[in-house]
Amino acid sequence: MKNCEYQQIDPRALGTSNTRTPTTLPCGRKNSQRLRRKWEVFPGNNRFYCDGRIMLASQCGVLPVTIGLIFITSGLFFTFDCPFLVDHLTVFIPVIGGVLFVFVVVTLLQTSFTDPGILPRALPDEAVDIERQIDNSGSSTYRPPPRTKEILINDQVVKLKYCFTCKMFRPPRTSHCSLCDNCVERFDHHCPWVGNCVGKRNYRFFYAFIVSLSFLTSFIFGCVITHLTLRSQIVNGFHTYLVASNLTTNEDIKGSWSSKRGEESGNPYTHNSIFTNCCVVLCGPLPPSLIDRRGFLPPDDAPQAVTSDTELPPFIAKNDTNMEENCQEFANSCTA
């Protein structure tokens, strides 16, 4: 009764076991050891947690980086942008951000922890049967099965490849992932960002993750821009007002011209047109610098003394010594 093939005979054990519930050996003998779960002997390159409920590829890639980036960015958003935007805009900003964040995290975890559609490897009986079917000639010499089998799908020829690791002909659209060492149905790709293969069973979670992540990123980006714009409006908007009314900050703060609130009617410099004011302030002629930074000082024996009584024209030809002498003489003549 030790023959494990007798396990198949009991229909109750077969019919009710969904490969998830442990069953006693059908011979009626309870194993004194703890019954092992199938995940403990799973041949692929996967890691299992929570007694087989959660699975990951053993090469989980940069999943921690992905999670870290999402949490840090969102954390900064909620800490710094949300309080300001709640005051200035609406309380729905953090609500929408929160919903998107939860959606992103949940779909990411589902993509990472869900079985992507792994095909269990063929049992030895099956593998032998497949080889026997192929090797119909009855040759006694062992010959490995041919690598492809052609079938007709909707009147189109499709080649099925034989997987030497899993010992079976792969169904259409199935591919063997070398990182996880599993055949995966409707294999899309192995994504290092989520640390798992993307296949038939988790493609929808993956798609939901990338779409919601793009919404979350755009939303956070938009909120940050709005935040910065609102803060800088204090500067930008204010000065736009000054330019349009040909005022200075100093005049505005002191209220030099405005007798009533919001009116600049007392300003003598305004051109009474916003457009003209803007043109004049922003596009008017640029006056030259008056301080002559690079001009040479006169030599020490002829100091350039300017007393309060003299009036020197401001734009003398500066390097002209004769001119200086002339002016000096003129100055002396005036005071004489």
Binding site: I9, P11, V106, D125, N154, P171, R204
Partner: protein, 158 residues
């Protein structure tokens, strides 16, 4: 064709596994789950062709229903998407419900049709939906096996 009718209990104690037959997938309609209805030669002496084909066709119908794309599947999918798929933690999917029905169907077929003929169907889900495995048992020790005290180790151990 001497068919000796047993029930499953007797089968367990007296029969030994002779061989297994694997019914492969039929991909002519794409990737949907469908099994070939070609009658294997090994079962020629064990079961009527019509019974076998009926079983496989019914299984194919069950799987087609599970994978059917329609109003109910869309509703289930959209509801799941809206709840970020958390609803799958509380709710059984339509596919899982139909898999349970299939399991009951196979058990019933085994009890009524296959076990009396010394055959046993294995649920395809146990084999990764790759094959329907049919185990063929040879009757060793035959009619005297009805006694419960039959020594099982004598001739049945493999």
């Amino acid at each position: 064709m001497a068919t000796e009718f047993h029930n499953l209990q007797e089968l367990r104690h007296s029969a030994s596994l002779a061989t297994k037959v694997f019914i492969q997938r039929d991909y002519s309609d794409g990737t949907i789950c469908k099994f070939q209805t070609k009658f294997p030669a090994e079962l020629d002496s064990r079961i009527e062709r019509s019974l076998f084909e009926e079983t496989v066709k019914t299984l194919n119908c069950y799987y087609a229903e599970a994978e059917k794309i329609g109003g109910q599947s869309y509703l289930e999918g959209c509801l799941a998407c809206a709840t970020a798929y958390i609803i799958f933690l509380c709710m059984e999917t339509r596919y899982e419900k139909i898999l349970k029905k299939i399991s009951m169907f196979i058990q019933e077929q085994n009890e009524k049709i296959y076990a009396p003929r010394g055959l046993l169907l294995t649920d395809p889900i146990e084999r990764g939906m790759r094959v329907i495995e049919i185990s063929i048992f040879e009757d060793s020790g035959s009619t005297s096996s009805s006694s419960s005290g039959s020594s099982p180790s004598s001739s049945t151990a493999q």
